[in-house]
Symmetry: C2
Subunit: 325 residues, 2 copies
DNA sequence: CTGAAAGCGCTTACAG
DNA sequence: CTGAAAGCGCTTACAG
């Protein structure tokens, strides 16, 4: 049997209300009783039961991270930032994985209805406007990472700008036929990056050629895999009118692409996206996203909202940075 | 206000006990009332409150993963396996990060005392025998991944064997001065791999030379980083008596090591450890650990124990596999 | 098959 | 500063 506040109360000769107050740091308790209670609690090895606390106080003290799949680089880094921030708070962190194949909105709505957390951190969750609207009606603290919607606090990176930088750099270096190694087009960041790609071309009066947009066949993880990158690059290199440079929507795909180039002993300049830690070690040029910071500040702004419901909505948009290697 | 069983009970004209039974699939409820209750629950958008359920039933339906840091490759893959298994069960997954710098045993003991989960999955947690002994006294279901202790269910890989395979392969290929690119010596797997390294040397009558054991200066994450690998390889390559091959205790370090070799334009054969997905794409030979399977089966054996406390303890030990690239 | 009732371990106005 | 008491939303013997 676990120790309860009743055990402590009895031994300390006080009421359970007092014990409860001690643990809630309600400053009204006298120092002496506070100390006595604490000592006895330690002695008995007391730990408050989260479930009882939650039920009684109607607070869960939990933050729920909602994300597609957790085992990917971007997510890992963002999560690192979230954890860093949470270290200084007393919130517990839960993670919910949106199952692929099922409607994400439905899953999220269910989760929200369960009310198992006080605040929600959405990572790379992309919904329709009408769906965001509906979620907004739940009027529960939500912060978005890697997505933007005016009604919610958010931290994202200007994907259009990132792609624009990469492609512009190629153009300025004299390249004309620039391939876009893309991923699943349902992904919003992917679409934005395509925008940036087009914008750069247009600005330099290079006609858009849709044959230069290539995707791997592997659709697992929206195509953000080494394998998908490998496949796409193989197909790029074997196409009749070979491109002379390639912008790739993620580093992980770019690493697959590098391998493909090596395997057929051909090489064109490549720029990836994300700047995952590995990029530096495999000599990959890329567009840097401050992933860790994004996690950190999104968490901060979520907590701010949780403690102050009517603070103004903040939408932070980072500018990505071209890293040449 | 969230919908409760009271609301449903009233609307359905039954008692709350009946509503509760419907949701607990207690088969004693008549099909007609069951349907009626279900319909009303859906209509009202009812979701049971986990905290109330937990308090009343004294069950949490949670599994807690306890691990050092989550943002590393090994952890990610193992977690993938855990999640795969959990998909078919109704347990919720929580993750607790052991904070570096503080005593891990103390942290774990606190967590266990809180009793916030019904089963615990330890990933890469290495304690003293006396500490495992103490944890065993809590008589709560615990399964170990990447660690072995006779009293707990566990899934691990024979680290000594893995290192032995790698080093033996080098020796058979004619190499004599084989460096060991190591990591933090407090890590049990690292120590076991050192064992295997020594064993292979001994068997082939090659004297052990401790100058061939190299570690990076970066101790972050126990030295399992690209950076630490890079540093170590730089120092290896600049040592007076340069080795002619190198076995590295993790792929992530090996990738750093590859970069180091490139930077100084030297190259010696390298074998890593883990077989992370990237290894294939950077052409890294390695010792494969079935990380995903480990997560999957450890979870399975934990759940088995949770449902059947006195099943025999199972210690699964995988044999690693040499992958040449 | 169903209901009344006690209880899970806390929190928190309300008095004093 | 402290206590008595109600209540959080469920579950589960115990009767019937």
């Amino acid at each position: 049997m676990a120790v309860t506040i009743y055990d402590i109360a009895k031994k300390a000769g006080v009421s359970i209300a007092t014990v409860s107050r001690v643990f809630n740091k309600s400053s009204v308790v006298s120092t002496t009783t506070c100390k006595r209670v604490m000592n006895i609690a330690n002695e008995l090895g007391y730990y408050p039961q989260v479930y009882a606390q939650g039920l009684a106080s109607k607070k869960t003290n939990r933050i729920l991270v909602i994300a597609p799949i957790m085992s990917n680089y971007f997510f890992m880094e963002v999560l690192g930032g979230i954890q860093d921030k949470l270290l200084s708070c007393s919130y517990e962190l839960n993670i919910f994985n949106v199952t692929l194949g099922k409607d994400p909105f439905e899953q999220i709505e269910h989760i929200l209805k369960k009310r198992s957390a006080e605040g929600y951190l959405f990572i790379s969750i992309h919904l329709r406007k009408s769906e965001w609207q509906k979620l907004h009606k739940y009027s529960v603290p939500i912060a978005l990472i890697d997505e933007y919607y005016p009604n919610f606090d958010s931290v994202s990176v200007d994907n259009t700008e990132g792609a624009y930088q990469a492609v512009s750099h190629f153009i300025k270096s004299g390249y004309k036929r620039i391939a876009l190694l893309s991923a699943c087009a349902t992904s919003l960041p992917v679409r934005d990056r395509l925008e940036g790609y087009k914008k750069a071309l247009k600005e330099h009066h290079i006609p858009f050629d849709k044959n230069l947009i290539v995707t791997g066949n592997t659709l697992y993880r929206d195509g953000f895999t080494e394998k998908a990158g490998y496949e796409a690059m193989r197909s790029i290199l074997s196409s009749p009118a070979k491109p002379d440079a390639c912008f790739c929507v993620s580093d992980i795909q770019a690493i697959g692409a590098q391998k493909a180039m090596q395997d057929v002993n051909q090489s064109i300049p490549l720029i990836g996206y994300d700047d995952i830690k590995l990029a530096e070690y495999v000599g990959l040029s890329t567009i840097r996203q401050p992933m860790k910071d994004m996690g950190y500040y999104a968490t901060q702004s979520l907590i701010d909202r949780m403690t102050n419901t009517d603070k103004a909505v903040s939408n932070t948009i980072y500018t990505p940075e071209l890293i040449l290697r």
